[in-house]
Subunit: 266 residues, 2 copies
């Protein structure tokens, strides 16, 4: 098919897919949402790594030019234990860390993510490699993914929960915050209300696009002729609603339920 | 091993295990927490049914007298499409519905559960079979499982979320509410604050114990000599903390990480 493969535990990676499609409208994308096993962020890195291997093997059957791991927990698992693969695997952690170091004026950087991402310290290591004197403060925000999946966007209760998670790290005079989970850009407006507009928010798409540009493998035509094929491991009408909500005006060509166990585990 | 098998997507079913152990201290229990694939309640009934089949097949290798499905979403999936099994399979939906009908004075019954449980209408059908004139009002509460897993018990934010979910059904002059998810009894104190003490709260353990008593298969000795073996499909130190928190004074003998895919899917 000659496409870019993208995967996430669920709908969060659609924020990355949208950004990629906006940059390369003529490119083909195959997006796999592992909705039967979501969320990843509360699980161990070993289990997440097994899921990544299965997802990537499945995606490779579509004839890919590259795989984008559009999930921070999965990126973290793969950074800890790299996977051999016939095409480049791009993660969202390295470009997110690089962008934060570029943007931050005082190198006081906050990282918000799932438990798996925060406990792994993947962002801390990536930032300190680029900026050894940076001060990095992390906070896990386990309820944000369920809040996004529930659709409570820009909601007073969501704002309270954001305040509780973020309040603790704001004390450290942070000037830049990494949204270290692909679900979190959906909550951007609410997060700005809590942290104020003087704190820069970094999501991973921007740095990821630069990484992909360097590979020079994407179709650079400016007309919108590429296809988007969505795959999911579990399907319900509500999930399709959430897909449409998060993709908004970005249209997809097909949505198909697949069984990873049947074809790739046996 | 001659034991009772119990399973849930995660830690919620421990509320059922505790109640069973308190009733039958001399009995052996094997509890499987499918933590690698939790939660079940947001997934489709077909996917949940596949997970149940794998869990039960695994548990049967321990030499069981019965299997208790200590998860409402899983019970719902099995009620919709019964499983052939060499030992009795007990679910939590039928006894919960029966207890609610027994307790309710005006047969105005509320059901709180996950999306999978609520959309299946399993409780509605079970209640109307016993009490055709009952008025049943349901509300899905998708954020409660993540809140319990996060440990925000008796917390102002949790109370706000409980109020939002429950407020809508309270208008219907409900006198009895079924806590239709095995995680929910953990939130009982907060739920009472919102619904008031005049509304009866039914959790499934009570009716389930009656069902198991009828089978006359459990060890009725009153001394505490039975073993509790815990199995989980994903493990992290934090999960073990939550296991201990929810089991409280109920002690277990072992906690083991297992791989359902390796042994039962291939």
């Amino acid at each position: 098919m000659n496409a870019i493969g993208v995967f996430d535990s669920g709908v969060g990676g659609l924020t990355v897919l949208k950004a990629l499609k906006a940059r390369w409208p003529a490119e083909n994308f195959v997006y796999l949402a592992d909705t039967a096993r979501l969320p990843y962020g509360s699980k161990s890195l070993g289990t997440i790594h097994n899921y990544c291997t299965q997802n990537i093997n499945y995606l490779l059957t579509f004839g890919l030019k590259a795989v984008v791991v559009a999930c921070n927990s999965a990126s973290t698992a793969i950074l800890e234990k790299p996977l051999a693969c016939s095409v480049p695997i791009l993660n969202v952690v390295a470009p997110g860390a690089r962008k934060a170091v570029e943007i931050s004026t005082r190198q006081r950087i906050g990282v918000l993510g799932t438990r798996a991402t925060v406990y792994s310290k993947a962002y801390v290591h990536a930032i300190l490699r680029l900026s050894p004197d940076a001060m990095v403060t992390q906070a896990p925000c386990p309820l944000w993914v369920p809040l996004v999946e529930e659709g409570w966007i820009d909601d007073p209760i969501t704002n309270l929960i954001i305040y509780r998670y973020v309040g603790a790290i704001l004390k450290h005079q942070i000037d830049t915050i990494i949204l270290g989970c692909t679900h979190y850009p959906v909550l951007r407006n609410s997060i700005v209300k809590v942290v104020g507009s003087e704190v820069a928010l970094v999501d991973s798409s921007l740095g990821l696009i630069e990484d992909l540009e360097k590979l020079k493998i994407c179709n650079e035509e400016k007309s919108n002729i590429g296809k988007i094929k969505l795959l999911c491991t579990d399907f319900s009408p509500r999930m399709e609603e959430t897909f449409r909500l998060l993709l908004a005006e970005t249209e997809y060509d097909s949505l198909e339920l697949i069984d990873l166990n049947a074809e790739h585990l046996g």
